[in-house]
């Protein structure tokens, strides 16, 4: 796979804030990244790090109020080849992009489908809307799409209601719906988190296959590093509303340049590798101490500083900039250069 395609979407300094009673939540605080055509970009980070808000900002689906895109631009080149700043589009123009140029699938397949309409209706709705087809043609497209995502007996299933389907099946319906208008970009917000591993494998497999066939770009949001390793070309790691590291997937896993990424990689159990053998002392996972910071009360400096075992005084003072660590790899840590060596110490 080559990643030499042109940039499809570029997010520059995006800031999305929520005003709540307790204060302003800076859910996304100056996020910058880009996706090239045909590429899969994974966004990882733990709960509350701003992954969903970033993706919803791209779709302009932030509930307003309380949310607001405060700053930044989201440059997108649509099917028509014209680059626009999504942040500045009118609502009507934006509606043309949604579902047509950019589609989205969500984490919860159980609640993301309208329970009172058939899945066929729901898929056809987008087709009617964006492709000017009539109801009957659209239902035909819906059936085709269901077949395409591997649902058996699509002619029958198209007239069924979401509650008549299992979670995996619903997620396929969501994918079918998202792909029905051949979008240039698919945003998948934790599409498999709620699913079982065997079903997750099916869905991931399906997504890979579809991407190969259609050639769209995918913005893949997850906190499962296993899934990232499997799906992504490039990775963006978020923490506390900011991008803390970005780079090629192999690079990130091999040589993380941010302590959070390192901690994350160390804290996950790796299937098979560390399986316990009876009688032997058990191994321990390398946990990141402490808790995720309160978004209302982020530290003044590096947001990871309170949990970071490499923190120094300077970390507390200002938000570190993104350092280019070479090869398109960036990291938001002032001590990134030391890590090559540090890491060796740790593993030893």
């Amino acid at each position: 796979m080559t990643h030499q395609g042109e940039v499809l979407l570029a997010v520059n300094g995006l800031k999305t804030y929520f005003s709540t009673d307790e204060g302003v939540v800076k859910s996304v605080d100056g996020v910058t990244f880009h996706i090239k055509k045909g590429e899969t970009l994974a966004v990882v980070g733990e709960s509350g790090s701003g992954k969903s808000v970033t993706s919803l900002s791209i779709m302009r689906l932030i509930p307003m109020p309380p949310g607001k895109i405060v700053e930044g631009e989201v440059l997108f080149t649509g099917k028509d080849g014209v680059q626009k700043d999504i942040v500045k589009l009118s609502e009507a123009e934006m509606r043309k992009i949604r579902g047509n140029d950019i589609s989205m699938i969500f984490q919860e397949p159980m609640t993301s489908l309208n329970p009172v309409y058939t899945v066929g209706d729901q898929i056809a709705e987008a087709v009617i809307l964006h492709q000017g087809k009539n109801k009957k043609e659209a239902m035909g497209v819906a059936t085709d799409m269901l077949r395409f995502v591997g649902i058996p007996a699509p002619e029958k299933r198209v007239n069924e209601y979401p509650h008549q389907m299992s979670g995996g099946m619903r997620q396929r319906v969501m994918i079918a719906m998202a792909l029905s208008c051949n979008p240039a970009l698919l945003i998948a917000d934790e599409p498999t988190t709620a699913l079982d591993v065997t079903i997750q494998a099916q869905i991931l497999d399906l997504m890979r296959k579809l991407q190969r066939d259609i050639g769209m770009s995918i913005l893949f949001i997850t906190h499962n590093l296993g899934v990232v390793a499997e799906m992504a070309d490039r990775v963006v790691v978020m923490y506390g509303g900011r991008v803390v590291e970005e780079g090629d997937v192999v690079e990130i896993f091999k040589a993380p340049r941010h302590p959070y990424t390192m901690g994350l990689l160390n804290s996950i159990p790796r299937p098979g590798e560390n399986a316990h053998v009876a009688g032997q002392p058990k191994q321990r996972l390398e946990a990141i101490p402490g808790n995720v910071p309160n978004p209302l009360n982020l530290p003044r400096g590096c947001s990871f500083e309170p949990r970071c075992k490499f923190a120094v005084e300077a970390c507390r003072e200002a938000v570190p900039p993104l350092f280019d660590t070479g090869g398109g790899h960036t990291a938001r840590c002032i001590r990134w250069q030391e890590f090559e060596q540090v890491q060796q110490e740790v593993t030893a």
Partner: protein, 378 residues
């Protein structure tokens, strides 16, 4: 899910569910207004005897007055002295218009006196805050003058005083009736939800039966069953009892549903796993979890009962003379029909109080509901 660490520095005081609800509630301007309104109304009820210049049933059969208009209060007398005073009134029935005509008798002036006691006037004696007998009044005028702030009724009883005293009944009705309803609803719903099976079936059927029988009809007939020599106030409270006897069904159904679902919750399972007894689970885990709903229910049921009482007075089975409630006072206006509106609009004042009380409770109830509902928190 947010995994937010409590930042010890900011919150030194730990917040219980209740204190959160309270702070949410305080933030809601309507709820605050409702609470203040209710506070004033209930304070009025508490101090009714003190605020009312006259006794509840005070009128004269010799110096007969009916439908007196509000008495004008004058501030500066002929000598230039400043201070509130009223003139005496002269009444005659105008046989042309069939309305009472009142003129001020400027030859008699009486100052409005504050904080006077009225020894020997049994009618005006009341128990301050429910226990200290006194006849101390905030304001009053001496005979032969009359001070009718909001006019009088057909017997010449001071409507202001009657509204004050009426507030005691009107405002307590809602609370008593809804508390009774809640007790019944909790017991029945609790039994149905906790024991399930036959008890559940029987109770739920009963609920259905009760909601199917027309309420008005039940009320009127049940009301006729009381022994006649019983105290009218007692009878009235019995009627309230009937109201709650009819009304517990909806609540019981909900309590049952809540108990059914709460008992499956993990924390209840955890208590079971710890070996907690049934009574502990009911008392510590199940019932408190219905508290939220109960409180909201209470605050929204109370205005319903206040209105219900006025309806009872409309069909004549509410509070009886000489006692007064806002409902029965409004009933007087209703009975007067158009004449009440055309000739003596002050008789409509009790209606304003009903609206105010209902509004107050509505605001508080809505505020509570929002405050309890995490999705609606602001």
């Amino acid at each position: 899910m947010t995994t937010t660490a409590p930042t010890t520095a900011r919150k030194s005081r730990s917040q219980s569910q209740w204190s959160i609800v309270w702070s949410q509630f305080k933030r809601n301007p309507l709820a605050r207004a409702g609470l203040i309104l209710l506070g004033l109304l209930y304070l009025m009820a508490l101090l009714a005897g003190f605020l009312a210049p006259y006794g509840l049933t005070e009128y004269s059969t010799s110096d007969r007055i009916s439908w007196a208009p509000p008495t004008p209060i004058h501030w500066r007398d002929a000598q230039g002295n400043f201070g509130p005073y009223v003139y005496g009134i002269k009444r005659d029935i105008d046989m042309e218009t069939f309305r009472d005509k009142y003129v001020e008798d400027t030859s008699v002036t009486c100052p409005v006196k504050f904080f006077q006691t009225h020894p020997g006037m049994e009618n005006r004696t009341y128990r301050f805050l429910g226990f200290i007998p006194t006849s101390l009044k905030l304001f009053s005028v001496d005979a032969p003058c009359k001070l009718y702030l909001w006019g009088s009724d057909s017997y010449g009883r001071d409507q202001f005083s009657r509204v004050m005293y009426g507030s005691q009944i009107s405002l307590s009705i809602g609370i008593i009736a809804s508390v009774l309803t809640v007790i019944l609803g909790l017991i029945m719903g609790g039994i149905a939800g906790y024991f399930r099976g036959v008890a559940d079936t029987v109770i739920m059927r009963l609920v259905e039966v009760l909601s199917a029988i027309p309420e008005l009809f039940l009320l009127i007939t049940l009301r006729a069953l009381f022994p006649i020599n019983s105290d009218p106030i007692l009878v009235f409270y019995l009627v309230i009892g009937i109201l709650s006897l009819i009304g517990w069904g909806g609540l019981a159904r909900i309590v049952r549903g809540q108990i059914l679902s709460v008992r499956e919750l993990d924390y209840v399972q955890a208590a079971t796993a710890l070996g907690a007894s049934d009574s502990r689970i009911i008392g510590k885990h199940l019932l408190p979890s219905t508290a939220t709903y109960i409180i909201i229910y209470l605050s929204l049921a109370i205005p319903g009962f206040i209105l219900g009482e006025s309806g009872l007075s409309f069909i004549g089975i509410g509070i009886v003379e000489p006692f007064a409630s806002w409902g029965s006072l409004l009933g007087v206006a209703q009975a007067g029909g158009f004449e009440s509106i055309d000739a003596r609009p002050w008789t409509l004042i009790p209606g304003v109080f009903i609206v105010l009380a209902v509004l107050g409770w509505q605001f508080v109830g809505d505020g509570l509901r929002d405050a309890f509902d995490p999705r609606r928190r602001r």
